[in-house]
């Protein structure tokens, strides 16, 4: 019984959104918009639950005296972002203090971490060579070949490299990428059809 109710609700919600795309009807549009708002709320709920779990986990680690420095950093970071937005008189995510924290703290920190991607990738490559030498070497050679083709140099050699890079991007990479996208879309459509028809195994 529980299974059939969940399956029916899922199928109904899916059908409403699907039919709303095909038919212009204000009532149906309103219902689809309401369902979509529920989805947005669900995503927000998942975010809040994730943050709470993070707090619980790191408070627990502090209590057990495990990696205290890391846990304090995580909790302080959470507090720095949350407090300006939740403080009395704040306008929330668009408040000046939150904007300052995002622009002056979050963005430079994330950018700094990503700036280390280049040396860290090289370290990862050397580790890969130790663990799976043959496969990693082939992958690194392919990466080097792509980088050579992308070198923005002028003259005849530059034109030849640019046309080779365009061919690689437009033929083999595009073929693999489109194959992946079509595969993902077909799997998504199949899963959606199974849910709508009530034959999805996840309800068992």
């Amino acid at each position: 019984m529980r299974r059939s109710i969940a399956a029916a609700l899922t199928a109904l919600a899916g059908l409403v959104v699907l039919v709303d795309l095909a038919i212009a009807n204000p009532a149906l549009g309103g219902l689809a918009a309401w369902l979509n708002r529920l989805l947005v709320l669900l995503a927000a709920g998942a975010g809040v639950a994730g943050a709470l779990m993070l707090v619980v986990r790191h408070v627990g680690r502090l209590a057990r005296r495990e990696d205290q420095l890391g846990s304090v950093a995580v909790l302080m970071g959470l507090g720095l972002v949350l407090l300006p937005g939740l403080a009395p008189g704040s306008t929330g995510a668009d408040g000046p203090a939150v904007r300052w924290v995002v622009a002056a703290l979050l963005a430079p920190l994330v950018a700094a971490v990503l700036a280390l991607l280049f040396p860290l990738l090289l370290v990862a490559a050397s580790r890969g060579l130790r663990i799976r030498a043959r496969e990693t070497a082939v992958m690194l050679a392919a990466a080097a070949a792509v980088l050579i083709m992308l070198l923005p140099i002028g003259g005849q050699a530059g034109a030849w490299l640019a046309s080779a890079a365009a061919w690689v991007r437009d033929v083999p990479i595009a073929a693999v990428f489109r194959g992946l996208l079509i595969g993902v879309a077909a799997t998504g459509a199949l899963t959606a059809a199974r849910i709508l028809l009530g034959s999805d195994a996840s309800h068992d």
Binding site: D94, V110, L114, F118, A137, A144, L151, R169
Partner: protein, 321 residues
């Protein structure tokens, strides 16, 4: 230092601190297998962690000293810039434009010049811009870009901040079906609130994060077919978005650094004719980029070339015997 014949003479400097990942070795005292590498890699963990940072700083220092070079721009590169220039050039003075800034901080430097050129182009053409983001990193970039425009003297009547919208694609669908919502104030926001997204004349999507041009084509175009969509993306997204440009679902696509530079220079060339918001952004250092690419190529070839050459030699010997 060891060489294993089956791996073509590949050098294996093991790291004792790696635990279960490290290959098993004979570490008995006096063992020829263990002693040399153990002496060589005995560095404090803090020092080892600082090596990548130091290497990056040295590379950046050298790159800043390399003299400037120009990027090669072929016909397709200039055409990409002209497409975006034409899409923005078709706008009338005061036309509302929706800009979705959802780049990610790792790849944004590649498209920052083109993004700033496009924002300046919109200002120069007299367009009114509403900025929205669906990712945290995109919001961080948007906040910085809005602050930069404000610093240049662009008022809130020209640039409305629609803020961050959580929820990913459902939030994008919500924006497409219900419009900008009641939270944003100002005369520009009031003007575009009435008719939803259909009141905008162009959507410019700055991609890189989860929500990008593909999401816009898939979720917004079926709901608001009259809204033309242009995109600026890092080059890694090109295989994903090029088909949409070929089919005309994207009216313009700037997806490589040379294309962004060509477009920016087109905007800069026109900049002198306009007042506030003139585009005078410093060009990214082409020499530094080429230098970094050459270092990466050298490291990749040095690390993989020995192994590949060793296997090729071993295979050739096996074939002869």
């Amino acid at each position: 230092m060891t060489e294993s014949p089956d791996e073509g003479g590949r050098r294996e400097p093991p790291e004792p601190s790696e635990g279960p990942e490290s290959p098993v070795r004979d570490e008995t005292p006096g063992s020829a297998d263990a002693q040399p590498w153990r002496r060589r890699t005995r560095l404090a963990p803090g020092v080892r962690a600082g090596i990548p940072i130091l290497a990056l700083l040295i590379l950046l220092g050298i790159a800043s000293l390399v003299p400037g070079i120009g990027f090669a721009a072929d016909v397709s590169v200039e055409a990409a810039g002209r497409d975006l220039e034409a899409a923005i050039g078709r706008l009338q003075t005061g036309a509302p434009v929706l800009v979705d800034i959802d780049g990610d901080l790792g790849t944004y430097p590649e498209i920052r010049y083109a993004t700033r050129a496009a924002l300046a182009d919109l200002m120069l053409r007299g367009a009114n811009v509403a900025v929205v983001s669906f990712s945290g990193e995109g919001r961080a970039i948007a906040v910085a870009e809005i602050a930069r425009l404000r610093h240049l003297g662009v008022g809130p009547d020209r640039v409305a901040d629609l803020g961050f919208r959580s929820g990913g694609e459902p939030a994008l669908v919500q924006l497409a079906s219900e419009g900008i919502g009641p939270n944003t104030s100002g005369s520009f926001a009031d003007a575009v609130r009435k008719d939803g997204l259909a009141s905008f004349r162009l959507a410019l999507v700055i991609g890189g994060a989860e929500i990008g041009p593909r999401s816009w084509v898939e979720q917004v175009q079926p709901r608001v077919p009259a809204l033309p969509i242009a995109a600026i993306t890092p080059s890694f997204l090109l295989p994903e978005v090029l088909p949409y440009r070929s089919s005309g679902q994207l009216v313009a696509l700037v997806g490589t650094l040379p294309a962004g530079l060509a477009y920016g220079q087109q905007v800069a060339a026109r900049g002198a004719e306009f007042g506030p918001g003139r585009f005078a952004e410093r060009l990214p250092s082409g020499a530094a980029i080429v230098f970094g690419m050459l270092v990466a190529i050298a490291v990749l070839l040095a690390s993989s070339g020995g192994s590949l050459a060793g296997w090729a030699r071993a295979a050739w010997r096996r074939g002869r015997s």
